[in-house]
C-alpha cells in the first residue's frame, strides 16, 4: 500500500504528464477555440501541480537544492558573452543594414555579485544593440 509521500509523488507525476499532454495539444491545434481550451486547462493543471509541490515541500518530501550564487554569476557572464557573440554575428551578416529598419531594443544585464537583478522597466540598462534590416532579401 502506498504511503502519504508515495500518493503525493504519484499525483505530482500524473500532473506533469497531463500538463505535458495539454501543452502538446495546444501547440498542435489548428482551431483557436480548441487551442484556447487546451491552454486554459494547461494553466489550471500547472496550478494543481504547484499546489501538490508546495504540500510536499512543506513536509520536507521535495526540496530542490538551491543554486550556488557563484554558479549563477558565472552563468550570467557566460550568457552575456553569448548574447554579444550573437549580436556581433548578426551585425556582420551579408546584406544587413544596421542603420535602417525598426529599432529592436535588447536588454543587456549587468550583473554584480550581491546586487539584485534589475527589475523590469527599472534599472535595466536599455541598449539598442541590433537593428534588423527592413528587407532581409537585399
Amino acid at each position: 500500500m502506498l504511503d502519504e509521500k508515495d500518493r503525493l509523488t504519484d499525483t505530482l507525476i500524473t500532473q506533469k504528464y497531463i500538463a505535458t499532454g495539454y501543452n502538446t495539444a495546444a501547440l498542435e491545434s489548428a482551431n483557436n477555440q480548441i487551442m484556447d481550451a487546451f491552454s486554459g486547462i494547461l494553466r489550471d493543471e500547472q496550478q494543481i501541480q504547484h499546489e501538490i509541490f508546495t504540500e510536499m515541500n512543506s513536509r520536507g518530501w521535495y526540496q530542490p537544492k538551491a543554486a550556488n550564487p557563484n554558479d549563477i554569476t558565472q552563468n550570467i557572464n557566460k550568457w552575456n558573452q553569448e548574447l554579444q557573440r550573437i549580436q556581433h554575428t548578426a551585425a556582420i551578416r551579408p546584406g544587413a543594414m544596421p542603420q535602417q529598419g525598426y529599432q529592436a531594443g535588447m536588454t543587456q544585464y549587468g550583473f554584480q555579485t550581491g546586487v539584485s537583478m534589475p527589475q523590469m522597466g527599472g534599472e535595466a540598462q536599455q541598449q539598442t544593440m541590433y537593428r534588423p534590416p527592413q528587407n532581409p532579401m537585399i
Binding site: 502519504e4 499525483t11 500532473q15 495539444a25 477555440q33
Partner: protein, 68 residues
C-alpha cells in the same frame, strides 16, 4: 474550421488522462488518513472533472457544427 484529426486525437488522449486522474485523486482521498490531504485530493478530483466537461463540450460543439 472543422476539427482536425490531430485535435480529435488529443481530445481523446486528454479525456483518458483526466478520467484516470479523477479516479486516482478519489482513491487517494479515500486512502489518506490526513484530513488536509483528503480535502486537497477531493478538490483536485473536482477540478479534473471540470476539465473533462470542458473537453467534452468542445468536442460536442464541433459535432454540432458538422450537422448544419
Amino acid at each position: 474550421m472543422q476539427l482536425t484529426e490531430m485535435e480529435l486525437f488529443h481530445l481523446g488522449e486528454q479525456l483518458r488522462a483526466e478520467a484516470l486522474a479523477i479516479t486516482k485523486s478519489t482513491t487517494c482521498a479515500r486512502e489518506t488518513t490526513d484530513p488536509k490531504l483528503q480535502q486537497m485530493y477531493l478538490r483536485i478530483a473536482e477540478r479534473h472533472r471540470g476539465h473533462y466537461e470542458i473537453l467534452m463540450r468542445n468536442a460536442q460543439n464541433f459535432a454540432q457544427q458538422r450537422q448544419f
